[in-house]
């Protein structure tokens, strides 16, 4: 009985030693890959940070309103965030590459999924960023035009423009990511439709007098008051 136990234990230890001997080089390879990956990811981070500083990315981000959002969320600057993002993506990529060397069954599929997902993640980030840039630029353009044209609800118009573009770019981002496509599509359609309906009702009911005055002014007089009030600048 005792011999059997000793034999089994010996066999188990021998098997474990064989397994360790089998996996140890792979583990070392994985660690080396992870270490090299860390160095490469760190260099990439420095490179991306320098490039973004050279291209004045932070100013673009500030103009897009992203800096303000990040500041409110107690997050670092957009340049820092983007460079950290590149670091982590690159390093995780290398770690997963190292893990794949271990040859653990079942993990391979998840690793390949991760690498397949990366381009989509990048595209989603780009879409979201440029969506924010476009929303900021166009809402400011709308605000300036409305203020200079003496439009009463300039700020509301600007906010509406920003809101529509942000919603639109968010729905595109989620679609690219493949996250809750149907939900986002329905949500977008509902929000957009509701906004348009609301505007139509608001203008229809609340703007009757305004529309009448506008048409009267356009059809009967020639904007005499405006002409008299404006000064010749040149």
């Amino acid at each position: 009985m005792r011999e059997i136990i000793v034999n089994e234990l010996t066999q188990a230890f021998q098997q474990m030693a064989r397994d360790v001997a089998h996996y140890l080089p792979r583990l070392i390879v994985m660690l080396i890959i992870a270490l090299i990956g860390w160095v490469i990811a760190y260099l990439l981070k420095l490179l991306v940070r320098s490039l973004l500083r050279l291209t004045k990315f932070s100013k673009l981000s500030e103009n897009a309103g992203a800096t303000q959002l990040l500041h409110q969320a107690a997050l670092p600057s957009a340049t820092e965030l983007a460079s950290r993002f590149v670091f982590w993506i690159a390093w995780i990529g290398f770690v997963l590459l190292g893990v794949s060397v271990l040859g653990i069954a079942g993990l391979q599929e998840y690793i390949s999924r991760f690498f397949f997902f990366l381009p989509r993640l990048f595209a989603a980030c780009v879409i979201l960023f440029f969506g924010l840039v476009a929303a900021s630029f166009l809402s400011r353009a709308a605000l300036l035009t409305a203020v200079n044209a003496n439009f009463r609800s300039s700020r509301m118009l600007s906010i509406a423009v920003r809101f529509i573009i942000v919603i639109f770019s968010l729905s595109m981002t989620f679609e690219v990511l493949g996250v809750a496509e149907q939900t986002m599509l329905i949500a977008f359609a509902t929000v957009f439709g509701a906004a348009m309906l609301g505007l139509a009702i608001a203008f229809g009911l609340g703007g009757q007098d305004l529309a009448r005055k506008f048409l009267e002014r356009k059809l009967t007089s020639h904007n005499r008051e405006e002409r008299e009030d404006e000064l010749s600048p040149l």
């Binding site: 300036l144 203020v147 002409r227 404006e230 600048p233």
Partner: protein, 428 residues
């Protein structure tokens, strides 16, 4: 000759236009007209030009070049059909030379920079000693204007002759409150009308202006007229000014105001980038030779709704708060918000505050803190506030008082120039 052909090729002058120029040969004076649907006003303007040529330059070879930006009316036909013989019948003076009048459609849509480039290229190819630009909308033009503008350039070797108009009432508010004081402070020359729709330019300056590609730069494209003045001032050309008559009021609307600010202030701000080595070295302003005599300004009653101006200013400051915070310093913005709350009787946009505002806008434009066109648009409501103060101050003022206040504003611009230099490099 090779350079001229290259120029013609670069400018994409049409074969038909080149053929017309070759038929003319060489001339002494070119009169340029940039038109777009000006059929209603072009005839009296051309008649005045022809009368001016008959009266003042009967021995010179003169050509009228009309650059048209896609007129839908019969502007081009009117220019082509305008015959100097109509005037000869009524006048005892005869020109000893043929007066050529040619017209070219440079584009289907009006582009002032391209129109000026076309006329200048034509004048350069014709080897004109002087080119006089006349606005087709200036129906108040008199035959003497041609002499007043062309003579200093043609006979006295001046390179640029700028106009001085006889302003009525509160006309030219932007010129008086920004363009003149800032040009004077920055470039050091007291040119009263840096943006003139009428001016004369020497053949030498025409060639240099074209060969330096000013029209292809931002400021040349945005404001071709003011860019001629700035180019002459920075290039140390001989500049003078001549008193003309009354300028007809331009068409007025809110949108025109933005376009006018963009065409003038935008071009002036844009010119500061490349000319920094020149203007940063200018310490004080110099007077420029002035020809003719000023006639008293006719102060006609002008109906202006001051309350509306204040509303536009105050509403602009409140609504554009986030935009202005990207352009102005917090202290200046706080001060603007304070005066935006004042009532019409108390309201004042002081000279120093206005000067600081303009300089901070110029520095932000240089740094492109936000889109440059948005910066220019954001200036419009603030300009309306300054207009209100200008009107209030000069409501019952004499010509001397208006002149004194204008000079005071110019002094503020000159005194605060070190402030501009300071924030030029700092502002981020």
């Amino acid at each position: 000759m090779i350079r001229e052909l290259e120029l013609a090729e670069e400018n994409l002058l049409t074969d038909e236009f080149l053929r017309q120029l070759i038929n003319i040969g060489e001339v002494d004076i070119v009169v340029g007209l940039s038109t777009h649907n000006n059929a209603k006003t072009i005839r009296p303007v051309i008649a005045a030009i022809q009368a001016g040529i008959l009266k003042c330059f009967p021995r010179e070879r003169v050509a009228i070049i009309n650059a048209d930006g896609g007129s839908q009316d019969d502007t081009i036909e009117q220019v082509k059909n305008a015959s100097i013989d109509d005037l000869r019948r009524d006048s005892k003076v005869y020109a000893l030379r043929t007066l050529h009048s040619i017209s070219v459609r440079y584009s289907r849509i009006p582009e002032p920079s391209k129109a000026l480039q076309t006329i200048f290229a034509g004048a350069d190819l014709l080897r004109a000693r002087t080119c006089v630009m006349i606005s087709p909308e200036t129906i108040t033009i008199e035959p003497d204007w041609l002499q007043r503008l062309a003579r200093p350039a043609y006979h006295d070797n001046f390179d640029l002759v700028c106009p001085i108009y006889h302003r009525r009432g509160f006309e030219g508010v932007l010129v008086r409150n920004l363009l003149y004081p800032m040009t004077r402070s920055i470039y050091g020359s007291r040119v009263r009308e840096p943006y003139g729709s009428e001016f004369a330019i020497s053949g030498r300056l025409v060639s240099d202006f074209l060969s330096n590609g000013i029209i292809d730069q931002d400021w040349g494209r945005m404001g071709p007229e003011i860019s001629v003045t700035i180019f002459a001032l920075t290039g140390k050309y001989r500049v003078c000014q001549a008193f003309l008559g009354t300028r007809p009021p331009p068409t007025r609307s809110g949108q025109d105001m933005v376009a006018a600010v963009r065409r003038t202030v935008g071009a002036l701000f844009a010119s500061l980038d490349g000319n920094f080595p020149v203007w940063s070295a200018v310490r004080e302003s110099q007077t420029v030779p002035t020809f003719g005599a000023a006639s008293p300004v006719a102060n006609e009653a002008v109906r202006i709704n001051r309350k509306r101006l204040l509303d536009l200013f105050a509403d602009g400051v409140v609504q554009l708060g986030p935009v202005l915070s990207s352009i102005l310093s917090p202290q200046l913005l706080a001060e603007l918000k304070r005066i935006a709350l004042l009532n019409i009787e108390e309201f004042e946009y002081p000279e120093e505050l206005w000067t600081q505002t303009v300089f901070e806008f110029a520095a932000s434009y240089h740094k492109s803190t936000i889109n440059r066109d948005h910066i220019i648009q954001a200036l419009v409501p603030l300009y309306r506030g300054r207009s209100l103060t200008f009107i209030t101050e000069n409501r019952d003022a004499s010509d001397e008082d208006i002149e004194r206040r204008e000079e005071s504003l110019c002094v503020h611009f000159e005194q605060l120039k070190p402030f501009l230099l300071e924030i030029w490099a700092e502002r981020k």
